[in-house]
């Protein structure tokens, strides 16, 4: 039995869960909105269960890629359906599972075109799961695009505040990114001397000269970096977040931005270590710019979602900074921060989403005194803000700490600036908390209801995850470390 279980294709099952959910939703007539939501919750819950199982079942002692599945698809071109997960992919799968499930629960009260909305979300998440587990460059590119295109419709149809502009801007940016990634992948495959898209095969031996690696890494860094909100290609992100509906913002900031960083890591750093080394100082500079810049711009925003959008730019800057150090600790911290930021920002958007649904405004100046009116709903927001500030014993703290500690060793100035930005980030978050939650309760919001138990469930899950990994960061660090050692050992 155990043997059979070990051979069970869990990764494909994960993808099939999404596809099955998608098909089931399409099969249900649109008028049964409630049934669609239940089906959505069940299938997204299943993906969460599988991703938790994978996380636990992964053998950290042996490390490397596990749960590998491989089916040749176009042998002539060396393209295969090739999946496997390591210590980098598993936290991302877990993150996707959590954010997906909670995002579906968050839009429990949604009414507009539920069927189409859920179908598109399922399609999007299929792409995300696929990308995190794929070990074939061709499939990585395909999954990348699969996860991008539903975004346009999701924002343009269900969004708010300049939604057409936001959707178009986001799509164009991300397509520009994929227009850089494809040439890079083709370039690498052509110069590999072997006709294969197999990521692991391409890593073996010194296939690429340093010059080739530099070219390819730069293209990949910018291409994926756009999605990761790397300065100065970040402006799509706040605009997109503002325009997107709550659940899409959660998935977008929580998971999609991680795809960018993960792509840099998985494709760029795995295949082009020399290029990585060459461009690392540039990465550090851009990441530091992102941290300082995002924090300061966030201070001046008047829209709640813009504030969170810019905080994401700053937090993803920390991820970039960690990756640029080229040290074990830096990478560990960066991947941890990817996970922590994903959960935190999902919590952020879901709590802001609730506030917006009730008050119908995101303008900070129009809000105030909400803690008296909806104490539970605002406490989720406050916890998210405290996580964003980097309060210890909440998950983000560890990612930031480890990245900063390794960064000061490699780039002292960048590290000092990033640590200095902590004080400003406190001002930035607490200012928003003060203006929205504190102060005397406003007359116009006096009749609003606090969050119900059902709607609180997804937020409670997110908070629990933040606290769990805040108190026991080792759960995640040990996992990430297996993959980092593997990566650094190769160099």
């Amino acid at each position: 039995m155990a043997y059979q279980l070990a051979n069970f294709p869990f990764l494909t099952a994960l993808l099939l869960c999404c596809v099955a959910g998608l098909l089931a939703i399409l099969a249900i007539p649109a008028r049964h909105a409630r049934a669609i939501k239940i089906v959505g919750a069940v299938f997204s819950g299943l993906t969460l269960v599988i991703s938790i199982y994978l996380f636990i079942a992964y053998d950290q002692q042996s490390g490397g890629f596990q749960f590998v599945e491989r089916v040749a698809w176009i042998p002539a071109l060396g393209i295969a359906y090739y999946n496997g997960v390591d210590g980098f992919a598993l936290p991302m799968l877990l993150l996707t599972g959590i954010v997906f499930f909670t995002a579906v629960l968050t839009c429990w009260e949604m009414e507009l075109r539920v069927k189409e909305f859920f179908a598109l979300i399922f399609l999007l998440v299929t792409g995300v799961f696929g990308l995190f587990m794929s070990l074939d460059l061709f499939f990585i590119f395909v999954w990348f695009d699969v996860s991008l295109f539903p975004m346009y419709l999701l924002i343009a149809i269900w969004g708010s505040t300049r939604k057409e502009y936001g959707a178009m801007k986001l799509t164009l940016y991300l397509l520009a990114g994929s227009a850089l990634i494809l040439p890079a992948i083709v370039y690498l495959v052509v110069h590999s001397g072997a006709m294969t898209f197999d990521l692991l095969a391409l890593m073996e031996g010194d296939r690429f000269t340093p010059a080739q690696q530099r070219i390819a890494f730069f293209l990949l860094y910018i291409g994926f970096g756009i999605l990761a909100g790397v300065f100065p290609f970040h402006t799509w992100s706040p605009v997109g977040h503002v325009a997107a509906p709550t659940a899409v913002s959660m998935i977008h900031a929580g998971v999609l931005m991680k795809i960018g960083a993960f792509g840099i890591l998985r494709v760029g750093m795995f295949l082009c270590p020399e290029g990585w080394q060459y461009w690392a100082p540039l990465m550090a500079v851009l990441a530091t710019c992102g941290i300082v810049y995002g924090t300061f711009v966030g201070l001046n925003q008047t829209d709640l979602k813009y504030v969170i959008g810019y905080s994401s730019v700053a937090h993803m800057g920390i991820v970039g900074l960690g990756l640029s150090t080229m040290t074990v600790d830096g990478i560990n911290g960066a991947v941890f921060q990817m996970f922590a930021h994903g959960i935190m920002t999902a919590l952020f958007f879901s709590s802001v989403g609730y506030i917006y649904d009730r008050t119908h405004t995101k303008a900070i100046a129009e809000l105030g005194g909400l803690s008296r009116i909806m104490p539970r709903a605002t406490s989720f927001f406050i916890i998210a803000a405290l996580t964003g500030i980097g309060v210890p014993c909440l998950a983000s703290f560890w990612g930031e700490l480890v990245v900063f500690m390794s960064c000061v060793r490699v780039y002292p100035v960048a590290g000092a600036l990033a640590i200095g930005a902590l004080a400003v980030s406190a001002l930035f978050m607490l200012r928003v908390v003060q203006k929205t939650c504190y102060g005397p309760p406003l007359e116009k919001f006096a009749d609003l209801k606090d969050i119900t138990a059902a709607l609180a469930v997804p937020r409670v899950i997110l908070v629990s995850v933040i606290v769990l990994f805040g108190l026991f960061p080792g759960l995640l660090f040990d996992m990430i470390h297996t993959a980092t050692m593997h990566l650094i050992g190769l160099r």
């Binding site: 164009l172 940016y173 100065p232 402006t235 810049y293 300061f296 711009v297 201070l299 001046n300 925003q301 040290t327 074990v328 600790d329 560990n332 911290g333 005194g369 803690s371 008296r372 405290l386 309060v391 210890p392 014993c393 703290f397 560890w398 480890v402 900063f404 500690m405 390794s406 000061v408 060793r409 590290g415 000092a416 640590i419 200095g420 902590l422 004080a423 400003v424 406190a426 001002l427 607490l430 200012r431 003060q434 939650c437 504190y438 102060g439 005397p440 309760p441 960061p473 080792g474 660090f477 040990d478 990430i480 470390h481 980092t484």
Partner: protein, 634 residues
């Protein structure tokens, strides 16, 4: 880091003392927040058990010979191992007992003070959070762990200052406190990271071992890291130049001010200095900076206290000034003097704040003139206890403050810092003056005073609950009276197990106590002349000099300066510049790229418009230019 004969029982007891408040916090916040009495019971039970555990540990280890270290790994990442542990030595045992005792007493007091407040449950939850963080901070075995709990203590402070978040001033004060201490913590974290890079560990026993540090760090590096860490101390202990958050923090409920913003949390900065005394003393520059900052803060805050009308503000300024005084003692090289003053101060300052709470509770105002007019002197126990506390603060024998103050003064004299000694004497004079100014104002109210009350009552709570409050006051007053006589046992205790306390007591100057008492007597006399005697107009000499009154009343314009810098530099400067850059330059360029792509499309579209005339025209033009080109070339 060999755990010296691990005594599991000590470990279990300490862990219980630390974790019970955390448990209480979790239970209250998740389950019992709306049930007020139950929440209070849980929190007080946890604090009481922590106190019992702390006292047990203190008694058990009174004859401690070597520090006890228990460490476990919290997290590993590559070269980084972050331990979590407990370090029990005389310093941490004593501080643990002090924190646990004052937490417990203040929580009892709060039963009366906070009764009827709608946020009663939340209040006790935050108090438990604070107790957990602060107790763990005191026994932390590594500097990083101290930093972690240091931040959590800051979080508890933020939540408690802004407890009445309906009030703009309260939420503003909470934010200010958090951001200002965070500014100091940035330096702290930077120093800590640098130290870690050089040493490879942040365990306190290693840090305070001169041989281990000297082997790996250059003197310049020691000074740099010491000064950076000192930045954190400046923020947390509200020293110059980061001192303006503490007076604002008085927006919190009075018991919070007593516990966090006078007795324990702000003393964490000084405690950290004592904890790392062995490290700091390796850098003469850092010690000198510490002495200088302590002196400046002490004098500045004393002057501010002379003109304040708000009773809590006076004690807040006095806290800053006394913390500066402790740092002076430490900076002058005496670990025991600074630590002893920390302990005595924790007792009498908590007492003073809790008495102020009783006055505020009854009179419904923070303004001391108003309190006097409303018959504050009829509150006998609060008045007597205030006098006891103020006497200790002024260093009158035989109260506890007399012993600890005299110790610091004699150290300043012995260690060859005449300027600091003189400053300390001036500070002591001012301290006595403003303390008795307050007492005389409450004791001898004047009717004809045009000044309206500056501040309203700080809560929504009902009167009552006197018994629990009075019991706590008398308890603390008793401590204040007797603590001074335990100087020698405490000294012997602290000198054990190599914490860095000199085994020998300092030389005794027989004239010094007499001189200090005479100085205090003169200050009391001055206060009597201006505020006490029958015909006194109750206007101090400072207030008669408008320039000084304005300067002191405006906190030396530090607040204005910071506000101005924040507004112009941060909000209107960098932040707006970056935002404009984001909108115009980055977005502008990309939107421009989009527009020019569309424009290019139009041009190409026009070329491809398929109109025969244009095509013919272009063909003709091309042929002519070709002919011309060939003609010229040929």
């Amino acid at each position: 880091m060999v755990p010296a004969t691990p005594l599991p029982i000590s470990l279990i007891v300490t862990a219980a003392a630390l974790l019970l408040p955390l448990l209480a916090f979790g239970v209250i916040m998740l389950a019992t927040r709306s049930r007020h009495r139950l929440s209070a019971a849980i929190s007080i039970a946890a604090a009481g058990l922590s106190l019992l555990a702390a006292v047990y540990l203190l008694v058990q280890h009174w004859q401690i010979q070597a520090p006890l270290v228990f460490q476990a790994v919290w997290m590993v990442s590559g070269q980084m191992t972050i331990p979590i542990g407990i370090l029990l030595d005389p310093l941490s045992l004593l501080m643990l007992a002090v924190v646990a005792a004052i937490s417990f007493l203040v929580q009892i007091y709060s039963l009366g003070y906070m009764a009827g407040d709608p946020g009663f449950g939340r209040y006790y939850g935050c108090m438990s959070l604070f107790a957990w963080a602060m107790l763990t901070l005191t026994v932390s075995s590594s500097l990083l762990q101290i930093y972690i709990f240091w931040e959590l203590v800051g979080l508890a402070s933020y939540l408690l200052i802004g407890f009445w978040f309906d009030k703009f001033s309260a939420s503003e004060a909470g934010k200010k406190a958090f951001v200002m201490t965070r500014t100091g913590d940035v330096a702290f974290l930077l120093g800590l990271v640098l130290l870690w890079l050089q040493l490879g560990t942040l365990d306190i026993p290693v840090l305070t071992d001169p041989a281990a540090v000297g082997a790996k760090l250059s003197p310049g590096m020691i000074t740099l890291t010491a000064l950076l860490i000192f930045g954190g101390i400046v923020g947390k202990s509200a020293q110059f130049p980061l001192l303006t958050w503490l007076p604002d923090a008085m927006e919190g409920p009075t018991p919070v001010s007593a516990l966090l913003h006078s007795a324990t949390m702000v003393a964490a900065g000084v405690y950290l200095f004592s904890r790392l005394f062995g490290f700091f003393s390796l850098s003469p520059t850092a010690m000198a900076v510490c002495l200088a900052i302590g002196t400046i803060s002490m004098l500045l805050a004393s002057t501010m206290a002379m003109v304040a009308r708000d009773i809590k503000q006076v004690w807040a300024y006095s806290t800053i000034s006394q913390l500066g005084f402790m740092l002076m003692g430490l900076g002058a090289g005496s670990l025991f003097a600074g630590t002893f003053h920390l302990i005595t101060h924790a007792g009498f300052k908590a007492l003073l704040f809790l008495c102020a709470g009783v006055f505020i509770h009854h009179c419904g105002t923070n303004d001391m003139f108003e309190i006097g007019r409303q018959g504050g002197r009829r509150l006998k126990s609060a008045l007597v206890c205030t006098i006891v506390g103020a006497g200790a603060l002024s260093g009158l024998p035989p109260l506890s403050g007399f012993f600890s103050k005299e110790l610091i003064l004699s150290h300043l004299l012995d260690s060859g810092h005449p300027v600091a000694f003189l400053a300390a004497a001036v500070g002591a004079f001012l301290t006595t003056y403003y303390s008795f100014r307050l007492i005389f104002i409450i004791l001898f109210p004047r009717d004809a005073d045009d000044a309206p009350s500056t501040k309203s009552h700080d809560g929504h709570h009902s009167a009552g609950g006197e018994r629990s409050m009075a019991a706590v006051l008398w308890c603390l007053a008793g401590v204040t009276v007797v603590l001074g006589f335990f100087q020698t046992p405490l000294h012997d205790f602290l000198a054990r197990a190599g914490t860095g306390v000199n085994a020998a007591m300092p030389a005794h100057h027989s004239w010094l106590p007499v001189a200090a008492c005479m100085l205090a007597a003169v200050a009391i006399g001055q206060a009597w002349l201006e505020f006490g005697r029958k015909k006194a107009r109750q206007i101090g000499w400072v207030e008669r000099i408008p320039l000084l009154a304005d300067l002191f009343g405006q906190r030396w314009y530090l607040d204005r300066l910071y506000r101005y810098l924040l507004d112009t530099l941060v909000y209107r400067g960098i932040s707006r510049l970056f935002t404009a850059n984001d909108r115009r330059v980055i977005d502008g360029a990309l939107d421009g790229l989009g527009r020019s792509t569309i424009g290019l499309g139009r041009v190409i579209d026009w070329v491809h418009s398929g109109m025969i005339q244009y095509r013919l025209m272009i063909m003709v033009a091309a042929v002519i230019s070709l002919i011309l080109f060939i003609g010229w070339g040929g």
